[in-house]
Symmetry: C2
Subunit: 559 residues, 2 copies
């Protein structure tokens, strides 16, 4: 970073201010791809403590930044105008699954427009003053947008966008005309942002209600969702749960918000997709406290979750509801943060299953025995250590890995928006985010074929995740819904990919002992990425996918 | 296809009607990827004469369909809801560069919404009746949209969308709720579509004007653009040009609209980016007739094209202008189609350069001599035959191949929107479109890294294009604009890719004779795809890119 002399210290540039603010919020890497409209900004990053991570394409840059954001609280992707639009997949997913992602897009300079708006990479039709197409598209999938076309307001706009990202834990869009990057502005002194606050009266009222409900119930359960993780409220939930001894279940998207080794943790609840003891337990409670749960088809086991408890307390980032009435003026974080402050003279001591008591068969690899889907996860479980983080793409690897027992904040999935191809790049992004951890990506062959070559970026920056590729020869997850030629895939020789990338280790396994050995080797070797391809039979499904098949056979194939 | 009994013949289903209409318009392949919201439609294609081509991901499916559309007049891509949104790159490009692409997206069934709109792959916020997000995004990049949620109007809606695609030569969007695919409808009898017509008075008036201008000028030139190709008006232009002996130049995006072997064809005109004799010729004409040219930065050599001819006749799909006045009520195709009907007693016989007279050095490979960028294209020229079609991605391969002499309709490029990654999939799509031709894809290493694995689809369906990979070790086109670490790429061993895909031939060449031999082999061998990687020095630019460097050094690096 250039040393600024005293006289210069009172000004900065818009580009530098943007970088400094991101850095102040903990961003150390920006994932992106160059292009002429963003080149000046890219150049600026070269001289800044933040490091630019060059992806091979924009969509995967977005997934890397998303993985990073979920673990670090803020992620940034940076693309050129127009042609970077394939990042919309990643941004849509971040939007729907609440990942705090800042998208910075270069744009044509303000002066260039005066010559003609008919510039390459632009969508412009006839007679447009400024091409707003991309901005309008991003308005649909981000919670705030800022176009930095005015030096007088640029700094404010930057802060507004970053704050919106942090407040809503959803993507924001910053469009940066290239002739504004180096524009000088007076050094701003950003004040702590004034976030919305809860109405104190309403907050007291809702807490009194909760108190009353809890006093009158016998078997409460907390159902925790991904928003608790995103808003950093897991500790608050735990203090509350521990104080009164309330068992906790988790949504799939929220998996690992609470350590699954915690004695109060019961398991994943997904209606009829749950393991039976979890489902029985939850459905026999008399008070359900839902914190940050998105009640979508995936989290509810295609709406088979039964919420028939006598009392329901449901709080999300958008509202807090007690039974049938709604508190609009109570903020999610204030509500959840206040729960452990309640003073009740009770302690719920009732029997509940605990996830740690589940029987995990001691995995002993049988030599030469063809490995099956269910044994894959037993073997992974055996090797899993606190330093590991699992990132699961959508596919049978999600159904399978959902049953793994994991530590707090050590499991990421795109289990709701479910855009295949997230796995490999998000794994790389996660490895950038937490270099001391070892990140394990779980991906099906279909998903792998979409984005595997992003491992090039792991090579470039010496990033060493472990990819476990579940090769069940096609789109397994779709077969139970409707079978056809379209579920087939070309069989690649996946373990040859390191030869193309000229780095990394590719291992192909078919038997239990081969997989066992491969995991042991990969987990004990740092400095290189691994692809471990596990070859399974076409219709060898994980126990989780089998439960799913059963459910859709009941529900009808269309849903 | 199921044989229909007589009594059944009076009805069809919405899904079948859609397929039948596409088929009637010449569509034989649909490029796509399955997903639960589109599975039923995919299944329907299995039983239809149209063939479903399974891509590895949606974005490349879009590029394949775009390549197909540019050659066949209509292309179709078919994706599932939400997660297929990365097709927006391909659709944006098709929109901007006028390619008639139909995008079909599956969607949640109407009944499902009644349970809850919180379905996977959807963007929905709270309280939405129906998720319109994707529709609203596609409204920005398509000329018509249809949601097939009403059996009473579905057939009409289908016809309206397809007609809009054919009329405007731009993408349209069809959203298909999955529970409507098999809905029975009375067999429609689609009538020939009533397209807009020119006002006959206005048409006569503009033609009289053109006649007057032509009578009074000495050196007219026709500048032909891509819209002439898209609207199938090349023959009309040629008849007009030949009748009065008017020389023709072409825009870059319109390259090969007219055979470059035609004696009236002068060359590509791009202002200061043109070869000097072309530029001198055009800028010394006294009447410029622009037909279907998009006057954007690329086609005009960053606005260096000088349009100072005494008279200007400019017709595009949006308007027809004579000097400073505009005819709104004259259709592009009527105007262009009428030009050869003009009766003038003149014939312009003035000297003009002709592209065929250019000196193309007889390429004789020097054994062991390291090949250079300019020699690459000389060697390709030597091997080029009428059966070849070139598809060029953006990058130096575009600057280089723009100088090749090609036959009519045998050169495709994404030279305006310029989304890297178009090359490989569009080449495959083009090979599907015209199986008897041999399609040659030209791609840089950066672009290749984005989408090369789509060659998997070539393997799957036995498609055998030839990919010439210009490996200049990084983002060459960006280096002259701004140099930095971000222009570097990981060096892959590209010729090993066929080992991963288990089919195809990979050849790595560094010398003239190696390249010469590789081309000879690839062009004479059908049944397998080839990757010919040509290794160049980092800063070894094609003559075209060198002209570009000179131009931006004059114009300033930002533009
Ligand atoms: C980008 C994208 N395209 C399409 C889909 C639809 N889809 C859902 S599951 C699935 C099959 C996944 O196959 P694979 O990754 O091999 O995992 P498997 O189900 O075989 O375990 C598909 C295509 C999707 N979720 N995302
Ligand atoms: C999807 C996309 N991302 C970024 C860009 C910006 N861009 C323009 S040229 C270029 C470099 C192209 O490199 P390569 O394909 O290797 O071709 P070369 O210029 O080296 O010949 C880039 C990154 C783009 N055009 N498209």
């Amino acid at each position: 970073m250039a040393v600024q002399t005293k006289t210069k210290a009172k000004t900065t540039t818009i580009g530098k201010y943007l970088l400094d603010r991101l850095h102040a919020h903990g961003v150390e890497h920006i994932f992106g791809l160059p292009g002429d409209y963003i080149l000046r900004f890219d150049k600026l990053i070269e001289d800044h403590p933040i490091k630019l991570i060059n992806a091979t394409r924009e969509n995967t840059a977005g997934y890397m930044a998303d993985g990073y954001a979920r673990l670090r609280g803020l992620g940034v992707a940076c693309v050129t105008y127009g042609v970077g639009i394939n990042i919309t997949n990643a941004v849509s997913q971040a939007f729907v699954e609440s990942s705090p992602l800042v998208v910075i897009s270069g744009a044509a300079g303000i002066e260039e427009y005066q010559i003609s708006p008919k510039l390459h990479h632009l969508y412009n039709g006839e007679g447009l003053e400024r091409d707003n197409t991309q901005l309008e598209i991003f308005q649909k999938i981000t919670v705030a947008q800022a176009v930095l076309d005015n030096p007088a307001t640029a700094a404010q706009e930057i802060d507004r966008a970053i704050e919106a990202c942090l407040e809503h834990k959803k993507p924001v869009y910053i469009e940066f005309p290239r002739d504004q990057v180096d524009a000088t502005i007076p050094l701003p002194h950003p004040e702590p942002f004034q976030r919305e606050a809860s109405d104190p009266e309403a907050l007291r009222e809702v807490l009194r209600e909760v108190q009353k409900i809890l006093k009158n119930c016998n078997r409460p359960v907390i159902w925790v969702g991904h928003e608790i993780q995103r808003y950093g409220l897991a500790d608050a939930v735990l203090r509350f749960a521990e104080k009164y001894h309330i068992p906790i279940v988790s949504s799939l998207l929220g998996k690992s918000t609470i350590s699954e080794y915690h004695p109060l943790y019961v398991g994943l609840y997904q209606g009829e997709l749950s393991r039976e003891e979890v489902r029985d337990f939850v459905e026999n409670c008399d008070c359900a406290i839902l914190l940050g749960v998105n009640l979508n088809d995936v989290n509810t086991g295609i709406f088979s979750a039964v919420l028939e408890q006598e009392n329901k307390i449901i709080s999300t980032s958008s509202s807090t509801e007690i039974n049938h009435h709604l508190y609009k003026e109570v903020l999610f974080s204030d509500f959840v943060g206040s729960l452990c402050g309640l003073e009740l003279n009770i302690c719920f001591r009732f029997d509940h299953p605990a996830c740690i008591d589940r029987s995990f068969p001691d995995f002993a690899a049988k030599k030469g025995k063809k490995i099956t889907a269910s044994r894959v996860y037993e073997c992974i479980q055996k090797h899993l250590k606190p330093e590991h983080i699992i990132v699961s793409d959508f596919g049978d690897c999600l159904f399978g890995s959902a049953d793994l027992l994991v530590e707090q904040n050590s499991y990421l999935s795109n289990s709701y928006f479910a855009a295949l191809g997230f796995g490999v790049p998000a794994t790389i992004g996660a490895q950038f985010a937490l270099p001391k951890k070892r990140v394990i990506g779980l991906v099906g062959d279909g998903a792998f074929q979409m984005t595997c070559m992003e491992l090039s970026t792991a090579v470039r920056y010496n990033i060493d995740p472990v990819i476990i590729l579940i090769n069940n020869h096609g789109y397994a997850t779709e077969r139970p819904i409707l079978e056809g030629e379209f579920n087939e895939l070309v069989d690649w020789k996946y373990s040859e990919i390191p030869k193309v990338l000229q780095k990394g280790v590719g291992i192909h396994v078919e038997t239990e002992d081969e997989f066992d050995k491969a995991l042991a080797k990969a987990f004990s070797t740092r400095g290189e990425y691994f692809i471990i391809e596990v070859e399974l039979d076409k219709t060898d499904y994980s126990p989780g996918l089998k439960r799913f098949c059963k459910l859709i056979n009941i529900k009808g194939k269309s849903s």
